[in-house]
């Protein structure tokens, strides 16, 4: 029978080794034998100790994690297969069971090739045989690329893989030949010493214990400006106390500490306090040059990425980073800031690349707004993309032409974001939808309509527009929208009451006997919906209260509550508890999502330890209290 699809399958296979080594007839023969399989995310193609299949595999679309199983039963990813990578070669060589797991990292289409048909080709064609043996032996997908492995970022921006992926959690390499001086040493002497040894800092010690640090920056601030003379003793200008850690400090910790204290040196002492002997020093610069994967390096890679697949790869490294942070229990506030910045940069980069590719320059100023969780800086895992465009007001006759330009741009951007891993919004709340690609005055009109005349259903959908953050473009436009919202709100108090009703639609998730309320029916039966019952009530409450106070430019839920704590002294404790709870819930969700490679929304209660359950219950008590406050303040009883 004619088979025109087999020819296209052959075209695909022919692009990748070992198939590229076959001739056309052989390729067509194999293509006809291919089985095209669909796997959802997180599904096993095969597992360790499973009997080998009479097939091997090549990734057509998606990605597959190859995992080795550690002694404690935990899987560890040893390689990741992308489009065109071959895996599961064991049955070609041995009949023993599989030694590794192959799990889909995203929704994937995999071609399975029967061994029976392929083996004769592999044995008769030496090149094919060698390729397979090498692949199999090195346990990597493509031995030809092995020379690229383990390298730092080079000019080609190759991103080194896996071994370095969790490099972040490796102990920092400590510089042991640091330079120490005593309190009385003059700045001049210290400077001479630093120049001679080519270092950026000296540690001031007393009794071999660190009492302060002087860095290049101090010379700029005190000596260069003439505040201190070069004869001043270092103790007058040194930074004290010194931030100390013991030598086990990981790269991630070191970096976060530096970010947190806005410093670029950390002193290493024997027990990690300033009360013991100095052992060495860690500088930001040393970290930068010593590693391949960290937020700042990833950031650079993002800003240099010249193709969507590259951004996609970088994003998968961002997830590794996130996984490492979560394992190391790094505070969620720090983590979400870093991940937000990386996601934000990815989106920005995508927009910039799309603008460059447009035939014409943008006809006027515009701004790209991220809505929902990315707008709230809470998007740790990849969830849906929600976005919108606002552009400057243009003359009436130019309006549609201008809109057409931005719709075209939005279509390109959203498509690429989807490929990178930010899935399309199922409700089409995206800038490519003509309803959400509006001029400034159209947006103002839209918000006025929402605020003055929306029904309950509209509120549900429109409220994510109140959590927007500018990702790219002219900030004046988004500020103007914010101003308009607050002006309209102050004239329409009733809208807040309607929002309040919405905020209360998911009551406190604890049942009468303080047990968890789980989903009662459907396919999520007996699972706990942490988004609907935990995160959303808090997000809604924060949005409502912050709108009431007319606070602009804070869209993060925890930050909103922290701001509210400042504004309302008498409710300070409750609001701080809310801020804390929203962080805890986000962390639970992120952990769950990383574990099951999904959006983490549904939690199996059996996965939780006793301690976790207690923690969650405490959060829910807070939700209940803030809902009580809303009920009283907005008198929702009259509206429900």
């Amino acid at each position: 029978m004619t088979n025109s699809i087999a020819a296209r399958i052959a075209d695909f296979l022919g692009k990748y080794p070992p198939f590229s080594l076959l001739d056309e007839t052989q390729l067509n023969l194999i293509a006809r034998e291919v089985r095209v399989s669909y796997f959802e995310q997180g599904k096993a193609i095969f597992l360790k100790d499973e009997k080998v299949h009479d097939l091997f595999y090549i990734v057509h679309k998606g990605a597959v994690d190859l995992q080795k199983v550690l002694e404690n039963g935990e899987p560890e990813t040893i390689d990741k297969c992308d489009e065109g990578d071959v895996f599961g070669l064991r049955p070609l060589f041995a009949q023993e069971n599989y030694q590794i797991n192959a799990i889909t990292d995203e929704e994937s289409i995999i071609y399975a090739i029967p061994i029976g048909q392929f083996k004769p080709l592999a044995t008769s064609n030496a090149k094919v045989g060698n390729f397979l043996i090498e692949s199999f032996a090195s346990n990597t997908r493509n031995p030809y690329s092995s020379e690229h492995r383990g390298k730092l970022f080079d000019d080609e921006q190759e991103i080194s893989f896996k071994q370095e992926a969790l490099f972040d959690l490796q102990p920092v390499a400590i510089v042991k030949k640091m330079v120490t001086v005593s309190r009385e040493t003059s700045l001049k002497q210290a400077a001479i010493l630093m120049s001679k040894k080519k270092v950026g800092s000296v540690i001031v010690v007393e009794d071999k214990k660190p009492v302060g640090i002087v860095t290049d920056v101090d010379f700029r601030e005190y000596v260069g400006t003439g505040i201190s003379s070069i004869d001043t003793p270092v103790e007058k200008v040194m930074t004290s106390p010194v931030i100390c850690y013991s030598k086990g400090i990981t790269l991630a910790q070191a970096q976060l500490t530096m970010m947190k204290h806005n410093i670029n040196h950390i002193c290493i002492t024997k027990d990690g306090t300033p009360n013991t002997k100095v052992k060495g020093i860690v500088s930001e610069h040393d970290i930068m040059v010593s590693q391949g994967n960290n937020p700042s390096v990833l950031m650079k890679a993002i800003n240099r990425a010249s193709s969507t697949p590259k951004l996609n790869r970088i994003q998968s490294k961002v997830l590794y980073l996130l996984e490492g942070y979560m394992k190391n229990n790094i505070p969620v506030t720090h983590v979400s800031k870093i991940i937000f910045e990386l996601n934000d940069a990815t989106i920005k980069r995508t927009i910039v690349r799309c603008i460059d590719k447009m035939d014409d320059l943008a006809p006027c100023d515009f701004a790209w707004m991220s809505l929902g969780s990315q707008g709230r800086k809470e998007q740790l895992l990849h969830t849906d993309q929600d976005n919108a465009i606002v552009f400057e007001d243009v003359p009436e006759d130019k309006l549609e032409e201008t809109r057409a330009y931005f719709l075209k741009l939005a279509k390109r951007v959203t498509k690429r974001l989807n490929i990178i891993g930010f899935e399309f919004c199922p409700a089409e709340m995206m800038a490519r939808n003509p309803k959400y690609c509006l001029s400034l005055s159209e947006w103002k009109q839209q918000f006025t309509t929402w605020i003055t005349s929306s029904g309950m259903d509209d509120i549900l959908l429109c409220q994510i527009f109140f959590d927007f953050d500018i990702t790219y473009g002219e900030v004046k436009l988004t500020n103007s929208i914010s101003d308009h919202i607050f002006k309209t709100l102050s004239e329409n108090k009733l809208f807040l009451n309607r929002l309040a009703v919405q905020a209360l639609r998911n009551p406190s998730p604890l049942g009468f006997f303080r047990q968890f309320l789980v989903e009662e029916g459907g396919e999520k039966k007996d699972l706990f919906d942490i988004k609907k019952r935990g995160i959303m009530p808090l997000t809604d409450a924060a949005r409502l209260l912050i709108l009431e106070h007319q606070v602009k430019n804070i869209s993060n839920t925890a930050e909103r509550f922290e701001k509210l704590a400042q504004l309302e002294q008498n409710n300070k404790e409750l609001y701080l508890a809310c801020a804390y709870s929203s962080k805890v819930l986000l962390k639970f969700r992120t952990r769950q999502g990383l574990k099951y490679k999904n959006n983490g929304r549904f939690i199996n209660l059996e996965d939780l330890s006793k301690e976790d359950k207690v923690k969650l219950k405490r959060c829910f008590k807070t939700i209940k209290e803030v809902q009580e406050l809303i009920k009283v303040r907005f008198e929702t009883a009259y509206h429900t």
Binding site: M1, T2, N3, S4, I5, A6, R8, I9, A31, R32, E33, V34, R35, V36, S37, Y38, F39, E40, K61, E107, I109, A112, K415, N418, I419, F424, P426, A427, E428, M429, K435, D457, D458, L461, E523
Partner: protein, 222 residues
Amino acid sequence: MIRKWFKNKDEEDLPGFWQNYSGSFEEKLPQKVSEIRFVVFDTETTGFDFEEDRILSIGAFRVQKNQIEIGDNFEVFLAQTRFNPETVKIHGIIKKEKFEKISELEALKGFLNYIQNSILVAHHAGFDVKMINKALERHGLPKLRNKVLDTAALYSKTRITSNLIDRDKTYSLDEIAEAYNIDLIERHTAAGDAYITALIFMKLLNRLSKGKDVALKNIYRF
């Protein structure tokens, strides 16, 4: 009852290949979706008029257990008596081309033999099924007896229902393929569109069943 009466009376007069096809329905379909054999198909036609226009080609793939076997396909090109130059622009099948052509009856024979009692799946299935039925009618044969699923309708059901979305919007194959990141290969050929539809169908099935092995009747409830 009525069907049985019809069957006894008429079936005997119908050709053997039809009886063979019809006989396959004696066998009950499996309960679980994972065991069901779906046949995803597409027809290219000379136009959209059910009376005037004819089928140019039929392409089909079997989907079972989330898998398509490329070699287990059905692809035929039909010899034409009628020629509509308008539609050649779309699908590029010209009256005389390199593919071997068979008669309409031969094509139907092969198709019935291929599908048996499988559940048929097509994009805007109503059109393709009606085209096949019209062709069957021309040869004095009854209509297809298979259950049918429409990927366009299934896709609409995966969309959130809200008043901000146009619920009645119809989705083209290209739109869905883009949303699901599926390459458009051999677009506008029966085999190509059937293949794209099959990939879409697997993704849809998963989204609608939320990863569970649901019973067949549930798919019709979606």
